[in-house]
Symmetry: C2
Subunit: 331 residues, 2 copies
């Protein structure tokens, strides 16, 4: 591993001059610049990022906080899409990332979380699907000690941006479509996500608006994005409903499988558009969003913040459609 000293020696200049060339200072003659660049190429010199960070006193490291729920053996593909998107961007920008699971922070105070992250030299966060119940993280964002980008939570301040789809309109669209496609629709069972999650609240609001417009009787139960819990709700409540609207595909899959076992049929719609849906061979309306792209966008926003930009709100597109197995496996 060649160091800056080796380059300086080979180019016959001082190491501070090498540093200037590398960091694009103005006051360097073309001649010495050329000499230095030749030496850099010859030695295959790459600056030692550790030393750079020590000297500059800033070490940009991004903590990715993913809300992986370990209550099923199946690891949510959504989070995987989020992570791969962020990994890709981290390579592009040459910024280190560290992955965390939000469960890690439960039971800690905001102060504890903050020093835990500081100890790992993390100064930025991308938080996916923050729950309002995660008080410590919410406080962290308010304190603005870290640069933050929130995916699917509508908080913005000077150091915090937000990247999300319009959950309200999306839920409205997919539910309206499903309800209108069906003959019996006087009773709708809505299986909401986890209490405290921002997206849960927005989606629930959409259902309430739709209820006024159509109208119908709305039964709301919380499935907490948990397939098994949804299953139990279905067993208990499905008979009372004409149509079942779920706030996530995972819950919708749980609902359909439970209905099948009960040997009754009710229209169901989901939310997310996950590829797994293709494998279940269930054809239901859902909201398709590009998690990979959303995560990449989030990283771009983070980069803007690091470059001195102010926090802003970004809205990404979605599509109401069905997920087909053949489309999924062909890419």
């Amino acid at each position: 591993m060649a160091s800056i000293n080796d380059v300086a020696k080979m180019a016959g200049v001082a190491k501070s001059t090498v540093s200037k060339v590398l960091n694009n200072y103005q006051l360097v003659s073309d001649e010495t610049k050329a000499k230095v660049e030749a030496a850099v190429l010859e030695l295959g010199y790459v600056p030692n990022s550790v030393a750079v960070s020590l000297s500059k006193k800033v070490f940009n490291r991004v903590g990715l906080i993913v809300d992986i729920r370990h209550n099923s053996q199946f690891i949510d593909e959504i989070d995987m899409q989020y992570l791969t998107g962020a990994f890709e961007k981290s390579k592009e920008y040459q910024i280190d990332v560290v992955t965390f699971f939000s469960s890690q922070f439960e039971g800690m105070t905001a102060k504890q979380v903050s020093s835990y992250l500081e100890a790992q030299r993390i100064n930025c966060l991308i938080i996916y699907n923050l729950s309002r119940e995660n008080q410590n993280l919410v406080k962290l964002i308010e304190k603005q000690e870290f640069y933050c980008v929130l995916v699917d939570s509508p908080i913005v301040n000077k150091k915090t941006s937000s990247v999300t789809i319009d959950h309200f309109t999306a839920q409205y669209d997919v539910a309206r479509k499903t309800i209108e496609e069906n003959k019996f629709k006087s009773k709708v069972l809505y299986i909401a996500g986890g209490r405290g999650s921002y997206i849960t609240e927005q989606r629930l609001e959409a259902m309430k608006k739709l209820k006024e417009e159509i109208p119908f009787e709305l039964i709301v139960k919380h499935g907490d994005f948990n397939e098994y819990k949804t299953r139990e709700i279905i067993i208990k409540w499905a008979k009372k409903a004409d149509i079942i609207v779920c706030a996530s595909d995972m819950m919708a899959i749980g609902a359909v499988f439970a209905l099948t076992e009960m040997d009754i049929f009710k229209p169901v719609c989901g939310f997310d558009g996950i590829p797994l849906m293709g494998y279940t061979k269930i054809a239901m309306n859902t909201v398709r969003q590009d998690f990979f792209e959303k995560s990449k966008q989030a990283f771009d926003e983070l980069k803007k913040l690091l470059d001195g930009g102010e926090g802003q709100h970004i809205v990404m597109p979605y599509k109401v459609c069905k997920i087909d197995y053949m489309d999924v496996i062909q890419k």
Copy 2:
């Protein structure tokens, strides 16, 4: 962020003394030790890892190389299990990890890969499911410039360990069981994985042995672990076979779905035991292995290498069984 100087000042000792206390040197009086520890606690001092690495000249960073295939929208859960296992251990050992996709290194020379990794201060690798065709990585391992742990590739040297299940016996077991359960078994279609993959070769050997023992006619086709390709193989060859043995669950799922569409039934067995299988509601024999655990074990082996141990070969357990939806969602 308190530094070692702050601690020294508060404790009224020299910073080198603080360092000694922190690094558990023997020759420090209990009295000063107590003073220093009190100051550390008081200030919430955590050593600056950047400065530590610069000073020690070693920066342990692990590159995780996963073989995510982007030829399907569905991201392989196996890799996700591998990554989460490694992430968990990285926190336990306080060692940084960086995730790479093997496709990134295709077309690079061994030298290029090596300096690319060096530039990122990576000195360890965990490589999941290495393909023999990835010549640059194979050379890297042989050169022993990095501490390596290979998951599912049987290479071991001084700086390289291997963690794997017994693919030969596992493939033998599941195929034998499936064949014996069935009446017609004179022709077996074996859909192998990617050419060049170590596991592909071991599993294929098992089929050849079995063929001699039972015996039956063995037709071998390469599905490259690709579901879509498997589909095409099935459409072309399924009629010629009594039983279909697949070298992975993803391929097995592709096979079953294709057979269903062709409206013919043939027994199929898979390999891996992925939770996705539960969602397809297909009941087939497969080899269940714990990817999460395998990855954690791999990290443990890496730690041993870093602590001065020699490379060794670790064999993990597996189980021949079926994957049930209800088991999957309940955990």
